[in-house]
Each structure stands twice: as C-alpha cells, then as structure tokens.
C-alpha cells in the first residue's frame, strides 16, 4: 500500500497506521503522541496530539476526510495522502490540543520525578504556545498511595488510559481504572486497594507523565544525575530486561529496559517487555557485580 505523508511516499503493509508509516519515514514527519503505546492493543486515540489531515482518502475514494484524524488509530489505505507538518491547520489544531492538556496540569515540573523524561514536557516545549490563557483554578486531587510501591498523583494525569490497558492486558486482576466522567474523570482503585501483582509496577513505566511514580525512587534523584545501564537477569516469569539507573556505583532505580527491536513476542505472551516486582525492588541498592545480572552495555545514552 502506498501512502504519502508530507509529500514523502512509501510502501507499507496492510494494517499499518498512519502513525506507524510516519515513524518509518522519520521523526521529521512523525506526529507527537501521548496516549498511544505501540505494545498495547487498542491504545491511542484519546489525547488527540497525533492528529493529521487526510487530504486524499485512497485511490478508490480520493475524497479528503473532512475532519482531522488520530494518526495512531487510523489505518493507511492505498493511495492515501496525509499532511502533518506541512499543514498549518494541523499545527494550529495541535497547539489547541496541547493547551487543553495543560490547562489543568499543575506545571510542577521542578518538583516532579518525571521531569527530564516526561512526554508532556517535551510536547509543551515542541508544540505548545508560550503562555496559558487559562485563568481559572486548576483541578486538584490529593495524592494517594496505591500499594507500597506506587504513588498516584492525579493532578498530573492526562487520562491516556495506558496504565489501565496495561493492567487489563497484562495482569489478570486489574484493580484500578477510570472513575467518574468528563473533567472529573480520574484514575483510581475506588476502594483502598493496592496494585499488588507481580507485573503491576509496569504501569509506572507506561505512564507518559508523572502521575504514577515509583515510591522507592520518588524525590531521591533527578533523572539527569543518574546513569542508565541496561542489563539482563535470568527470570522464569518475565523478560528480565531491566534498566538500572545508577548514582555512582549504587542502583537507585530499576525500570524495564527498552531494547531496540524487541517484540511483544508470543513466546512470552505479552510479557516480553515487562519486568516483575522482584527485580524492581530486589535490584535496588545492590552493588553492580551482582550474580545473575548480565550487563549489556557499559553505559547507554539517556533518552
């Protein structure tokens, strides 16, 4: 199937979304995303940052699509023509979306653990307007603990649904979800309940903002003062692919590693990209030369 994005054409297999095609072309034309997470089924479509304009539907039906579409959820049709950065309309609309995402965001980056690896921060710098026109009181929630290891800071949440879908698709005992509706919608367990499951820690990794943070790491360090290092630990349950965040010789945080080319392999079912709690907690504060850890690279460049 042939698709043209911002004047650049390429062939993609059937079922490819506009976003995936754009990413194949390169970061210059790839729309920014917030809620889409490639490894999850039916993710994306909510935040609307990835909207693009379809100027030609397909060879079969060349009419343009009248409204902008979410590129993460729209599949390519043969002959489709798409505008992203070449359309001022798209850029203007995206600016609007970013503004909407930020009007109720606390903008507390200086005290946020996610700072430095926050998608919303990047998005705001890259695509937003310089100042906010929102003059009203921002939504405020109290911070809550969901279990001993995870902190929920709802003020920062953009309701991307990624953590809910992760829990739904990876664990079989989802206890948190989206409650209430409209601008009162929130991520919650509803009754005091802990996300207690071997894989539950992964919801922290999929959170694009600082709403779900690792309690073992909160406020300990700024990301840019730590040094990431990818490693492997033999494990029967999960992939064992971990990223150790080092302060000197000490492991201060453990997250799942993002290995290039790693697939959601059927062998591990959907667990291939995930790590279990044992590693998240167990590897903390251990010296580097720990048995069972195989270091992949000496150091890797921070994202």
């Amino acid at each position: 199937m042939k698709v043209t994005i911002d004047g650049i054409s390429l062939d993609v297999p059937q079922g490819t979304t506009i976003l995936q095609a754009a990413r194949m072309i390169g970061p210059e034309v790839a729309p920014p995303t917030m809620c889409y997470y490639s490894k999850l089924k039916t993710s994306g479509g909510y935040c609307r940052t990835c909207i693009v304009k379809v100027t030609k539907g397909s060879n079969q039906n060349p009419n343009p699509i009248p409204k902008p579409v979410a590129s993460c959820r729209t599949e390519v049709l043969d002959g489709m023509e798409v505008q992203n950065v070449t359309s001022s309309e798209v850029l203007e609309a995206r600016k609007g979306v970013v503004e909407f995402l930020l009007i109720n965001h606390p903008l507390d980056c200086p005290v946020c653990d996610q700072a430095g690896e926050c998608h919303l921060q990047d998005l705001g710098y890259g695509h937003g307007a310089a100042s906010s026109r929102y003059e009203f009181k921002r939504r405020e929630y109290e911070m809550i603990d969901i279990g001993p290891h995870i902190k929920l800071h709802m003020n920062r949440c953009i309701l991307c649904y990624r953590c809910v879908k992760t829990a739904e698709q990876i664990t079989n005992g989802r206890v948190h979800g989206v409650m209430h509706r409209g601008d009162a919608a929130e991520i919650s367990t509803y009754i005091e309940q802990a996300l207690e499951n071997d894989f539950s820690g992964n919801v922290i990794d999929v959170c694009p903002v600082g709403a779900l943070t690792d309690k073992t790491y909160r406020f300990k360090q700024r990301v840019w003062f730590t040094k990431p290092m990818d490693a492997h630990r033999n494990c029967k349950t999960c992939s064992g692919q971990v990223r150790l965040w080092l302060k000197g010789e000490q492991v201060v945080r453990v997250t799942r590693a993002k290995m290039p080319g790693m697939k959601w392999s059927p062998l591990f079912a959907i667990h291939a990209d995930l790590i279990i709690k044992k590693h998240r907690i167990g590897l903390l504060k251990v010296p580097l030369k720990f048995n069972g850890i195989r270091l992949y690279h000496k150091t890797i460049t921070s994202t």
Binding site: R139, E142, M154, R174, H176, Y190, I191, E192
Partner: protein, 193 residues
C-alpha cells in the same frame, strides 16, 4: 476537586457479607441476565445496579458494588467504573427523596431557577444538601426530556411536570407523608407514574 467526591473509599468486608438480594430482586436479576447471549452477562450491569440501589438504601456503597460484581462474576473495578460514570447512581448516602430539578434551556426559560430557589427556601437547604431529617436531597439535573412541560422535577421514578409553587408544596407534602418516593422496582404497567 473535593476529596469528598474523589479519592478512595472505605470498604468494610464484614458489611459486605451481609448484603444479599431479596428473592424477588434476585429473580428479576436472573431474568435480566437471560436477556443477553451466553458470556455477555456483564451487559446486565446497569439494570442490576438500578435494582441494587433500590434494594440497599437508595445509594451504592462500595460493599454493594462489590456484591453486584460477585453476582455478575466480573471484577469489582468494572462495577466502580460504570457506577461512577452514570448520574443516576448515587455513590454517597442521599435523602430518602432526591428532588432533581431540571435546569437546562427550556426549563430555565420557564423559571426552573425560581423553582429551585423556592424549594431551597422552603426546605432550608441549598442545592446538593440534605434536610436534617434525611428526608429530602435537592439536586439540579440536566435535560430530562420534559421540555414541553417545563419546569419539572424528577423524584425516584416519578416525573412532576408543569411545576408551580403550589404544585411544589403539594409534592413535598405528599412525599413527607408517604416517607419515600416510587422506586423503579415499584412500577408495573398499571402503575407507571
């Protein structure tokens, strides 16, 4: 957002064990479930929550929702998500009679705000509050499909339309003496309003 509406709620496992549908309610629930294909029992969730709300004191406590989840064999969180989405489910205790005055366009054009003020003065409570005797809760609602007979209020399953101050007086008196509204489960064909 106030912590009232948001955040986590207390759950009492001992209370939960005492919650069981009455036999007639259970029969209705089973009948509802049979309306859907095998494996799609969850579809009955909303009607079943209506029954639960009528059965267990006019609101849905975490314990009640947990019970509903066990009846339909779904995760409790799925029930919480749904119950908190729809405005007709009360997640906090409410008065015996919840008066919901429609305030959207056509009702406003016909004096809904004045009706609200009248009730506020009469009951001595503000919108969102409950009378000290626990009899009435006053709420405002969005369009209830009664625009041609505005202004109107809903209480339980009953619509009270073409409201005047005198009519409001009568309605309040009637409920105060009967002590409860018509619940959804009270209704049958001959007794639709």
């Amino acid at each position: 957002m106030s912590a009232e509406v948001h955040g986590t709620q207390k759950f009492d496992a001992t209370k939960r064990t005492q919650i069981v549908f009455s036999a007639s309610a259970m029969a209705l629930v089973q009948k509802l479930i049979s309306n859907y294909p095998k494996g799609k029992e969850k579809s009955a969730l909303i009607p079943v929550l209506h029954i639960a709300q009528a059965e267990f004191g006019g609101w849905l406590s975490p314990e009640v929702m947990d019970y509903v989840a066990s009846v339909l064999q779904i995760k409790p969180v799925e029930v919480f998500e749904v119950a908190s989405f729809y405005t007709m489910f009360h997640l906090k205790p409410v008065g015996k009679c919840v008066l919901e005055v429609c305030q959207t366009s056509s009702c406003w054009l016909n004096g809904a705000e004045d009706i609200v003020h009248y009730i506020e003065k009469k009951l001595g409570i503000k919108v969102g509050e409950t009378t000290p005797d626990g009899m009435f809760t006053l709420k405002v609602a969005e369009c209830l499909g009664s625009c041609g007979t505005a202004p109107m209020l809903q209480c339980g399953a009953s619509y009270h339309e073409n409201l005047t101050y005198t009519k409001v007086d009568q309605i309040l008196e009637q409920y105060a003496s009967e002590g409860r509204p018509r619940y959804y489960t009270d209704l049958d064909y001959t007794n639709t309003l």
